[in-house]
């Protein structure tokens, strides 16, 4: 019995998400019994590094360069799961992991629970695990019938710990099916942490009055190394790009710090951000609903407060 973890290595490198998934797989293996085996598909500089976070070995399918193709990934995962006797498969709740989890579940005839935020436990003849539902407004304890499961792990759900040392890497031996899609181009913004992975987020809403005023938000974000986000109307009117839209119908995030300026805190906005560890709200309206969901509030004009906050952060960094 083992837990098989897909460790994504975009452009040949692991990001925090890969270590999170492996460490979660390690904990799942301790809970369910067995060992944690990591699987790396495609180019990767240092697959053995996953041992540090709890993998007992890494299987590397190095000779695949066809990009993210859910059909191919599910086939490879299914074959390797069979080879290592995996009862549980773990992926990140990322655009890649989410595309694969359902397919692997069908292939293995296993129960699928996505966006899990707790370690699975074997009980009552099944496996139980929790996940947020209703866009973060509640949590559900789910029970998977039988002994096979596919789990996608929510970002920032569990702290990563170093529990071992670099481990052995085995070359994977699988039949790779023909690609079902052709990846033509991948366009990502380099240098910025993507929103779902960001630990610090600075977000702004309609209170900004217009796109030309975003300089103060960018400056604050740059000062603390945060990723920028926005409310839905701001993305809908084209003030900001769509991928910055957070909330129930946008990206759901769970950073350590969420700073919201000029956002009223409508229920659909809160749904995507209320799992943040710490929320700071800057709004000139003392009745703004967002204050009820905040840890710290500043009731004032954001055009005064945001630059002052940036200065205060700079002072702290220089001290």
């Amino acid at each position: 019995m083992s837990v098989l973890v897909l460790a994504e290595s975009p452009k040949g490198k692991f990001k925090k998400a890969a270590y999170e998934a492996v460490h979660y797989g390690h904990k799942a293996a301790q809970s369910l019994g067995g060992e944690c085996v990591a699987l790396v598909i495609g180019a990767c500089d240092d697959p053995g590094a996953l041992g540090t976070y709890g993998a007992s070995k890494v299987i590397h399918v190095a000779d695949y360069a066809g990009g993210i193709d859910a059909l191919v990934y599910a086939s490879i995962i299914g074959q390797v799961a069979g080879q290592v006797g995996a009862k549980a498969v773990v992926v990140n709740h990322s655009s890649t992991g989410k595309s694969i989890a359902g397919r692997v579940g069908v292939k293995m005839d296993a129960g699928v629970v996505s966006q899990v935020n707790s370690v699975p436990v074997a009980e009552d003849g099944g496996i139980t695990v929790t996940k947020p539902v209703f866009s973060g407004k509640a949590f559900a304890k789910c029970k998977i019938a039988g002994d096979k499961c596919v789990l996608s792990l929510m970002g920032n759900a569990l702290p990563i710990e170093e529990v071992g040392s670099p481990c052995a890497v085995e070359a994977g031996s699988v039949d790779i099916p023909a690609n079902s899609v052709t990846v033509k181009e991948t366009k990502t913004v380099d240098g910025e942490v993507p929103l779902p992975e960001a630990e610090l987020v600075v977000s702004a809403g309609r209170g900004m009055k217009g796109p030309e005023n975003w300089g103060i938000i960018d400056e604050l974000a740059k000062t603390i190394g945060a990723t920028t986000a926005c409310s839905r109307p701001v993305a809908d009117t084209g003030w900001r790009p769509h991928h910055e839209h957070v909330g129930q119908t946008g990206v759901a995030i769970r950073p350590n710090l969420y700073i919201a300026a000029g956002i009223s805190g409508a229920i659909q906005h809160l749904a995507g951000v209320n799992s943040s560890k710490c929320i700071v709200v800057i709004n000139k309206d003392p009745e703004a609903p967002f204050f009820k969901a905040a840890d710290y509030g500043v009731c004032a004009d954001l055009f005064d407060v945001v630059p002052r906050l940036t200065e205060a952060f700079k002072k702290m960094k220089d001290a």
Binding site: I68, D69, A70, L71, S95, T96, K98, S99, A101, G102, R103, G105, V106, G111, V112, S114, P132, V133, F134, S135, K137, A138, A140, K141, C142, A145, S180, T182, V183, K184, T186, K187, V189, L195, P196, H242, H243, H245, Q248, T249, N256, L257, C278, V280, K292, A293, A294, D295, Y296, G297, V298, C299, D304, V305, R308, L309, E311, A312, F313, M316
Partner: protein
């Protein structure tokens, strides 16, 4: 083109989230239900646009009880030609997907659309499962698609950007924001929807691999600490020393 759009029913976005039966069931009392926004705004409308461009039919499919007919009629009012309801309680994504796949098998749909996720269980699972059952390619989180009738070029949202993929033949697609613009049903559409076929089919699969044991609400916040706007040093200090997030 033959197009299938999977639609589901979700609580309206401002619905009060509460539970009954020892916190084991979602409390539906007083809750309004809507068509899942990703299904309605993006998946269904992009399917209608493809039909307008290339000809063909758009079929809406839902797995659920007769109470879901309101949502299905709305899909017909927006423009779907006909609809199928698989008559069973929707228990989990695996059971929903297995039933949709059982219907779609041998029907030769060119594109099977889902929303990128439902706004209640946020699973994002059904599309991939349907694709695997049918052995089709799965293109998820599509924010743009050009389709020439036999092959498509799709932009899919990935972390911090987009990926552009080509796909030929039948495939399953999940729809993100940007794929189309929401359409509001007009009076004529609503009248016509009453006469369009809504076929009820028996469920092929009724067992479920996953069930919910219990629900909990997040712990209440301790209350907001208001900071003097003149004293941002104090806020930075609290974030550093008290909240320990920076």
């Amino acid at each position: 083109m033959k197009l299938l759009v999977c639609i589901t029913k979700t609580p309206e976005t401002t619905a009060k989230i509460a539970f009954t039966d020892g916190d084991s069931k979602f409390d539906e009392s007083g809750v309004q239900f809507i068509m899942n926004p990703y299904d309605e705004w993006y998946a269904l409308v992009r399917a209608l646009e493809l039909k307008e461009q290339h000809g063909g039919t758009v079929t809406a499919i839902n797995v659920g009880p007769a109470a879901n007919d309101v949502i299905i009629r709305k899909a017909l009012a927006i423009g779907a030609d006909d609809a199928v309801r698989i008559d069973t309680e929707a228990l989990s994504s695996s059971q929903v997907a297995a039933n949709i796949a059982a219907h779609a098998k041998d029907k030769g749909y060119d594109v099977i659309f889902t929303g990128k996720e439902s706004i209640d269980y946020n699973g994002s699972e059904v599309g991939g499962m349907v694709a695997e059952h049918l052995g089709l390619p799965y293109v998820s989180y599509a924010s743009h698609m050009d389709h020439d009738g036999s092959k498509a070029t799709v932009s899919r949202d990935i972390e911090g950007g987009v990926e552009v993929v080509d796909v030929a033949g039948s495939f399953v697609l999940s729809a993100s924001k940007g794929l189309a613009e929401q359409r509001i049903p007009n009076m004529r559409g609503i009248m016509m929807a009453k006469r369009k076929p809504l076929n009820v089919e028996a469920a092929a699969v009724s067992d479920s691999k996953v069930s919910v044991v219990s629900y909990t609400l997040p712990a209440a916040k301790g209350g907001v600490k208001m900071i003097d706007p003149e004293n941002m040093d104090e806020l930075v200090r609290l974030l550093h020393e008290e909240a320990k997030v920076i």
